[in-house]
């Protein structure tokens, strides 16, 4: 059984900020790659960031709840519907 491990809100908030920062770097790289699809440094940077994101996301969703509908790690409860929602100050 996969037990949900609750962790303090500050850790979750800090991890979410790291995720935002990574996603921002990926977003910028994606827009660049749309224009320069064969740029070797941009491609290497993209792959490195995506790997880092996969690791952080798996860790984050395990103890802080799902970021997308695919990430509800808790086998015993549907955490997706639990707040705070992104537009609430406590989520930021």
């Amino acid at each position: 059984m996969n037990h949900h491990q609750p962790i303090d809100r500050d850790t979750c908030r800090r991890e979410k900020m790291q995720l935002r920062a990574l996603d921002f770097a990926i977003q910028e790289t994606v827009l660049f790659l749309d224009a320069y699809p064969e740029h070797p440094q941009a491609l290497a940077y993209y792959h490195r960031l995506c790997e880092e994101r996969r690791e952080l996301l798996a860790k984050h969703e395990k103890h802080c709840g799902p970021v997308s509908m695919y990430g509800n790690a808790n086998q015993n409860a549907w955490d997706w519907v639990k707040g705070p929602w992104p537009w609430e100050p406590d989520a930021n």
Binding site: D34, W85, W87, E88, N92
Partner: protein
């Protein structure tokens, strides 16, 4: 298709509600150069775009605009929390409140609801990309104007982020026009 991510692209955390600011900033949700129009414009221009690289940019920028729509809505929501009836009555937000209470409904600062007439889909590469360049600049000017009218750092911070994204998107579209 799209998949929702349960986080804002950039954090919005406003300590002091202020309905007057909300009434100004809501233009970047439902106004002529707002984020709903931006996402609708780019996502709908894709179908007649013959170049994969431009379709990619329209898809990725159009999707990012949806995230900006949510950020602007979060700003409006947080600026209109916990208000007393007196605070609302004394604010220009009162005319919005009478119709929408503190729900987030897409209107321009003037109160005109969002209209798809704000955007263009001409089905022509040059016409559509030039529309996109102008749109990014008009949105940038609107954020400049908002920054002229507000001074709460909690609000200015995400607004500056959104303004900067207009500049980056303009650059990406401009490269496509130049390489054309």
């Amino acid at each position: 298709m799209w998949t929702y991510e349960k986080k804002l692209q950039y954090p919005v955390k406003i300590k002091n509600p202020n309905p007057k600011l909300a009434q100004i900033i809501i233009s970047q949700l439902g106004g002529p150069d707002g984020e709903i129009g931006a996402s609708m414009r780019y996502l709908h221009q894709r179908y007649s775009m013959p170049y994969g690289q431009v379709v990619g940019i329209l898809t990725d920028v159009g999707t990012e605009e949806l995230a900006h729509m949510e950020m602007v809505s979060a700003i409006i929501h947080q600026l209109t929390r916990n208000l007393s009836e007196d605070e609302i009555a004394k604010s220009p937000f009162a005319t919005y409140f009478v119709d929408h209470t503190t729900g987030v409904y897409p209107v321009a600062a003037s109160g005109v609801p969002y209209d798809m007439k704000y955007i263009g889909v001409k089905g022509d590469v040059i016409a559509d990309l030039n529309e996109d360049l102008a749109a990014e600049q008009k949105a940038r000017v609107t954020y400049d104007n908002i920054l002229r009218l507000i001074d709460d750092p909690d609000v200015c911070d995400p607004i500056k982020f959104l303004r900067e994204r207009e500049v980056v998107h303009y650059q990406r579209f401009a490269e496509r026009v130049q390489s054309g």
